[in-house]
């Protein structure tokens, strides 16, 4: 688990593939290939094309179209917590 022992300069505006490592702890599939529908604007695309703000407090995934928050991943001491309240749904890659 990352505990951020050093000051981290946040690296905003990475593409969704930056999330792959983090989400592989949570989902059994390659999350960057999963399709997510934005609950705010309905934009539907793979996670790899979302905008990710990797901050020392957590990763914030935003819709590339309307910038609404799709997903937040916080690495708590008891494990990563994923909130997907901004996603209408997440479709795992098939087949």
């Amino acid at each position: 688990m990352t505990t951020h022992d050093a000051p981290v300069h946040d690296r905003p505006t990475l593409d969704g593939s930056a999330l792959a490592g983090l989400l592989s702890e949570v989902y059994a599939f390659d999350a960057t290939l999963a399709v997510v529908r934005c609950a705010s604007c309905g934009h539907t695309d793979v996670f790899a094309r979302a905008t990710v703000y990797l901050t020392a407090m957590g990763a914030v995934v935003r819709c590339a179209t309307c910038t609404a928050v799709l997903l937040v991943v916080v690495e708590r001491p008891d494990g990563p917590r994923v909130s997907a309240s901004g996603a209408a749904w997440v479709q795992a890659p098939g087949g």
Partner: protein, 197 residues
């Protein structure tokens, strides 16, 4: 805030500076942004305090600047383990802004341009504990650090000091802000290491 008065005897040795448990001191000012930096021009900036009955009071930038401002020297503590000592700010005390606001609410949701939110007990914003800050180290507050104006509540972890402040909603019941909804502590006292809920 710590006010140091030096006598005629010259400099005393610096007192041991206490920092909260699990923190280390940095001279850096790391930026933590969970979204794009909002570009808020002072000409369209507005701060609105809304009470639990829905009554709103707003200040334009000019109106904020016309209020008495205070210089604040304080340490700040980020939940990601860095502390920065002796930072200097200038801003308007929340005691001034809330002086004429009629409320019996106990909680506040701070709202930012860009959609960020964070929750605090109202009493933590009063009695000289919180400011709407618009200068840092003698310069106008940089947008990456929350300019034109941010909340400054230095006795709590720094995510409570909402950048790009646009409103304070007073509430009877506690509600959770952005990081609080996502697993961080509802209160966030650095001396008690209240990092996670």
């Amino acid at each position: 805030m710590a006010v140091v008065t030096r006598g005629f005897g010259g400099r005393r040795p610096e007192p041991e500076h206490e920092i909260p448990p699990g923190q280390f001191v940095t001279d850096d000012f790391p930026v933590l942004s969970a979204g794009p930096t909002p570009n808020v021009d002072e000409s369209r900036w507005e701060l609105t305090v809304r009470t639990e009955t829905g009554e709103g009071t707003s200040w334009s930038w000019e109106q904020l600047m016309a209020l008495p401002a205070e210089d604040v020297e304080t340490d700040i503590h980020c939940v990601t383990h860095w502390s920065k000592l002796g930072t200097t700010w200038r801003g308007v005390s929340l005691d001034t802004l809330l002086a004429d606001v009629e409320t019996s609410a106990e909680f506040v949701m701070a709202r930012s341009y860009g959609g960020y939110t964070t929750n605090l007990p109202l009493q933590d914003l009063l009695d000289g504990q919180a400011w709407v800050a618009f200068e840092f180290e003698g310069e106008p507050l940089d947008p990456v650090h929350g300019g034109p104006a941010r909340l400054l509540v230095p006795h709590l972890y720094f995510w409570k000091s909402a950048k790009w402040l646009r409103g304070l909603d007073l509430m009877d019941d506690e509600d959770l802000g952005f990081w609080e909804q996502n697993g961080y502590h509802a209160y966030g006292d650095p001396w008690l290491e209240q990092r996670y809920a």
